[in-house]
């Protein structure tokens, strides 16, 4: 359970600075929190509420709407195996079975060493490559039991560290735009005139 670190608060303030209303930064800050701890802790939720001027209940309410935010610890690698139509037809179920066997856990749980969490997923939009899975949302296509085992071995051995960061890291390179370089979006309540493209024909003339 931890609040955002000092470094991350600095990033958080930068993110907040990009929006005309602090609240708009809620979701990017949730990602930041998940990147920090691998999941979104209650303390981080409280901290984000303080930073954006919302109650903890509001932040939690927003966060829980989204599947990809986790509120309990998950493994370093979140393995999502697709079970929707194409994948199901091409062996998604057997793949899950095999994965459960290899990892020694049931879908929905985490290995005792904290490395892997196994989950079912719905269509990952790669149906032509079925069956598919994702590790921390990085794709693996036409997965067979053999390639699955190899994948797990590679992850365990750290051979994929350069491609697959720990759970919570959305992108490995954070785009940092200093606040003064933002485009200066105006809050809706401060907009006084209609945008030019919206003016009625007579008024535009």
């Amino acid at each position: 359970m931890s609040r955002l670190s000092e470094d991350n608060v600095r990033i958080a303030l930068e993110i907040i600075g990009h929006y005309p209303r602090a609240r708009s930064a809620t979701i990017p800050l949730l990602h930041l929190a998940q990147q920090q701890d691998g999941y979104v802790t209650n303390d981080a939720i409280r901290h984000i509420g303080e930073l954006v001027g919302a109650t903890s209940a509001e932040v939690l309410g927003t966060a829980t709407f989204y599947e990809m935010f986790k509120f309990e610890p998950v493994g370093k690698y979140l393995v999502n195996i697709c079970r929707t139509m194409s994948c199901a037809l091409l062996g998604g179920d057997q793949l899950m079975h095999h994965a459960e066997h290899t990892l020694g856990i049931k879908a929905g749980s985490t290995t005792p060493d904290g490395l892997f969490t196994l989950e079912h997923a719905e269509c990952q939009a790669a149906c032509t490559e079925a069956p598919t899975l994702q590790v921390n949302y990085r794709y693996r296509f036409r997965v067979t039991p053999e390639t699955f085992d190899a994948l797990i071995d590679d992850l365990r051995a750290g051979r994929l560290d350069s491609e697959i960061p720990p759970h919570g890291t959305v992108s490995r390179v954070r785009q940092r735009i200093p606040v003064d370089r933002g485009v200066g979006v105006v809050a809706p309540e401060d907009v006084t005139t209609a945008p030019s493209w919206m003016l009625a024909p007579e008024a535009a003339k």
């Binding site: 209650n42 919302a54 109650t55 903890s56 209940a57 509001e58 939690l60 309410g61 829980t64 709407f65």
Partner: protein
């Protein structure tokens, strides 16, 4: 909305009729109606007498279209289509059919879906019998379900606060409670979580829904998902009788329905009074009925004997009281009798007591305030109503924290601020509930508010703002640890600069405005409350009469109150309970409580509304006015009051400003009748000479929280645990100065007294000041307060 005979509104017979630009002609179920521009279809239909079923739509909140129950076929010229009628405003020529087969099928479908997961445990549900889901399933549902699968299950009710329970199985996700918490109360402590089938209302772990307004969600929940602890399983709606009345827990005067069953008070519900409460209540008002049926209520008169208080008859008690009064007059003259109180009763009680005091006994020493109010002359200043305040471009607060003291006024002003109708300029010694919404907050060091006001008015932005139109000044006592002088001086500074500004007094006790107006105020040359207490302390009061007054708890200066009670030679009390002060009385009359007597009350804006008797009195207690009438008779004057209505009529006939407040007028005015402002003796500008604050000291702020140890809260089992308890609060950056850890006991002292309280940090407290909530458990900050001093400086030291 009117039904018109022809389509042509301005027909030939009435050429003078100018078409109303706001009129929108629509056809609802085949009939033509004129609706108002901007009206939502659901509202326009309702005004036309056509009820469209709904769950999420609530007139006092923004529409969200959550439940889809209000689907009706609407044709805007492109052919009929189903639309949620709570989301769309009327448009010219719109054709609405709420009863077409398609509309009906849609509504039945929504009901069937809502019931798919609904537990249908109506027999054990508090809402059963008054449940919109039940009612609309009957009126607009399919009558049967095709759903045979297992329903969704959740743990049965979970507490989401000390007062409110949530049963998630019953919830239909209408967003009323969550919208109320966010939009109306500003306490977004409940929210929807998750998504789809698992959506539910939640609180954050360890952050309960502890809003002062939580009870409203129970009232507006259209199912039995939210229930209130004080009412759970107490009654079925069909067993309840109700009478409309007004809450007198504070002086906002919210309209309520008082409900009882078998002569027992069980529930108050908010009634929508457009000029006052909009249907909302605070939890203190809503659940305050518990105290009225408390076992410790006085049931018989008491007289003091050598063994202490002994129960006696009314006859004996009245005779004893008359003896005390005549003895007092014989010993010290009529003006040695003083009467304190009246603000906790109704207008009639206050009027009868004022007549007894001024006309029968003949003493000018009468006061309805307890050295914690304002000079009565403030009531004579041009006054604004609540509506006018919430519509004024500028509202200046020179008042206590309205969220704590006048909660529903806080809701109204918060609404005005968030909807950008009013800009609030707040002058305060400490951040308040409205600070978040204020356009400007000027923090002042207690005692210096007049300078703060003058300096603020000299800034260009504030000067420009107050020049924008109406200005209303909400004025009251923000700090009990200072005299009223600095506030009055600041008020004068404001009025001098803004001669057209009007005033809304923020006095707190239920009927303080009414009591003062009908005569519970000093007569010519009479003493005000502080004067009375001082005179009593000096042994100059032969008989002190307390009418619903508990100086030992009410008067900020605790030492003065104790000396006054000790110095008064004879004490008569009229009260509902034995409290610290009535325990010292020689004669105690048991008073009928709220809902045990009828009458009228006057709120802060001077609006008079009716109070209903709903249950019989406790024991032999009587309304205060009867006690006054009886004593007057025994003292040789018949006040002539035989019923409450007699007195209401007599007030209308004799009290300036109350001319329109006749029983007949009241019977026809559900929102009450406004009194007119009567100029009273002008308020003199006090001269304030402040000693410099020694830099070791903290300047003290003492103010009230909504829940404290006052009798109304402490006798209510649901509310009393909500009182936060006593502590001395300083700004977090001042903690180091004190040199104690947070939570440790510290000594708080003035030259006069020392008390010990735990230290706490709170950044709403300004640096250099210390704040102690009044009348909480633990040491009494009143011991530090000197009613004669303008401000109070304290030293805080570790032990």
């Amino acid at each position: 909305m009117t039904t018109t005979e022809s389509n042509d509104v301005s027909s030939d017979d009435s050429p003078a009729v100018i078409p109303d630009p706001n009129a929108v002609s629509v056809i609802i179920n085949g009939k033509q109606f004129i609706a108002r521009q901007g009206d939502l279809i659901i509202k326009a239909a309702e005004d036309a007498g056509v009820y469209i079923p709904r769950f999420c739509y609530h007139e006092r909140m923004s529409p969200v279209g959550m439940c889809r129950m209000c689907l009706v076929e609407v044709d805007t010229g492109r052919g009929p289509a189903l639309m949620p009628s709570c989301m769309f405003p009327v448009a010219p020529g719109m054709v609405v059919d709420t009863e077409s087969p398609v509309s009906k099928a849609a509504q039945e479908g929504v009901i069937e879906l809502l019931l798919a997961n609904h537990p249908l445990d109506c027999p054990v549900c508090d809402k059963g019998g008054e449940c919109p889901l039940q009612d609309q399933s009957f009126s607009h549902g399919p009558g049967e379900s095709r759903y045979v699968e297992e329903k969704r299950h959740y743990e049965k009710p979970i507490p989401i606060s000390e007062l409110v329970f949530l049963d998630r199985e019953r919830c239909i996700l209408c967003d009323r409670c969550t919208r109320f918490a966010d939009e109306v109360a500003g306490d977004a402590l409940i929210h929807f979580t998750s998504r789809g089938n698992t959506t539910q209302v939640i609180t954050f772990p360890d952050e309960p829904f502890s809003s002062y307004f939580s009870g409203n969600t129970v009232q507006i929940c259209p199912v039995g998902a939210l229930t209130a602890k004080p009412y759970r399983f107490k009654a079925r709606p069909w067993d309840l009788e109700e009478a409309e009345s007004t809450c007198t827990s504070c002086a906002v005067g919210c309209r309520i329905a008082v409900q009882s069953s078998r002569d027992e008070l069980l529930r108050y519900q908010g009634v929508d009074s457009d000029p006052v409460n909009w249907g909302w209540l605070c939890d203190k008002g809503r659940f305050g009925f518990e105290g009225i049926k408390h076992d410790d209520r006085l049931t018989t008169p008491l007289v003091r004997t050598a063994q202490g208080h002994e129960a006696t008859s009314w006859n004996a008690a009245s005779a004893a009281a008359v003896q005390l009064i005549t003895d007092a007059i014989a010993a010290g003259g009529a003006s040695s009798v003083a009467v304190l109180g009246g603000a906790r009763g109704n207008n009639e009680d206050a009027f009868a007591w004022a007549r007894l005091a001024h006309d029968v006994i003949g003493t000018p020493n009468v006061s309805a305030q307890f050295a914690d109010g304002l000079p009565v002359g403030v009531l004579g200043m041009p006054r604004a109503t609540i509506d006018e305040t919430a519509a004024a471009p500028t509202v200046i607060l020179l008042a206590p924290d309205l969220k704590e003291e006048l909660p529903v006024l806080y809701l109204r002003l918060r609404d005005a601020a968030v909807k950008h109708r009013s800009r609030v300029i707040e002058f305060a010694p400490k951040a308040s509930g409205l600070t978040r919404y204020a356009w400007r907050t000027v923090f002042y060091e207690p005692g210096t508010q007049a300078e703060a006001v003058r300096a603020a008015l000299a800034t260009t932005d504030i000067a420009a703002q107050v020049a924008m139109g109406d200005v209303v000044i909400v004025v009251g006592r923000a700090n009990l640890a200072e005299s009223s002088a600095p506030t009055v001086a600041a008020l004068h500074a404001l009025v001098a600069a803004l001669p057209n500004a009007r005033v809304l007094p923020a006095l707190r006790r239920g009927n303080v405005m009414g009591a003062i107006s009908v005569g519970m105020r000093p007569g010519k040359g009479g003493l005000d409350s502080r004067g009375i207490l001082n005179a009593a302390a000096d042994g100059k009061i032969e008989c002190l009469i307390l009418v619903g007054a508990d100086p030992l708890a009410d008067v900020p200066d605790g030492d003065l109150a104790r000396r006054a009670m000790a110095g008064a030679r004879r004490i008569i009390a009229v009260d509902t309970f034995i409290n610290a002060s009535s325990a010292l009385a020689d004669v105690v009359f048991p008073a009928a409580a709220y809902a045990e007597k009828s009458g009228t009350t006057t709120n802060i804006e001077g609006r008079v509304t009716t109070l209903a008797q709903k249950v019989t009195v406790t024991g032999t207690s009587r309304p205060d006015w009867m006690v006054a009438g009886d004593l007057a008779l025994r003292l040789g004057t018949d006040l002539g009051f035989r019923s409450v209505d007699d007195i209401t009529a007599s007030i209308a006939a004799t009290v300036d400003g109350f001319e329109d407040v006749t029983p007949l007028a009241l019977a026809h005015a559900p929102n009450g009748v406004l009194t007119s402002v009567v100029v009273m003796e002008p308020v003199v500008t006090p001269s304030i000479v402040l000693a410099e604050r020694n830099s070791y000291d903290f300047r003290l702020v003492v103010s009230r929280k909504l829940y404290d140890q006052a009798i109304g809260t402490s006798t209510s089992p649901s509310l009393s645990p909500l009182a936060p308890g006593g502590a001395v609060f300083v700004h977090s950056l001042d903690v180091a100065r004190v040199g104690s850890a947070i939570g440790a006991s510290v000594k708080v002292s003035t030259p006069k007294a020392t008390i010990v309280l735990p230290l706490a940090a709170d950044d709403s407290v300004q640096r250099g000041t210390a704040w102690i909530p009044f009348n909480q458990s633990g040491a009494n900050p009143g011991d530090l307060i000197d009613a004669a001093a303008i401000v109070t400086d304290v030293r805080i030291e570790s032990i």
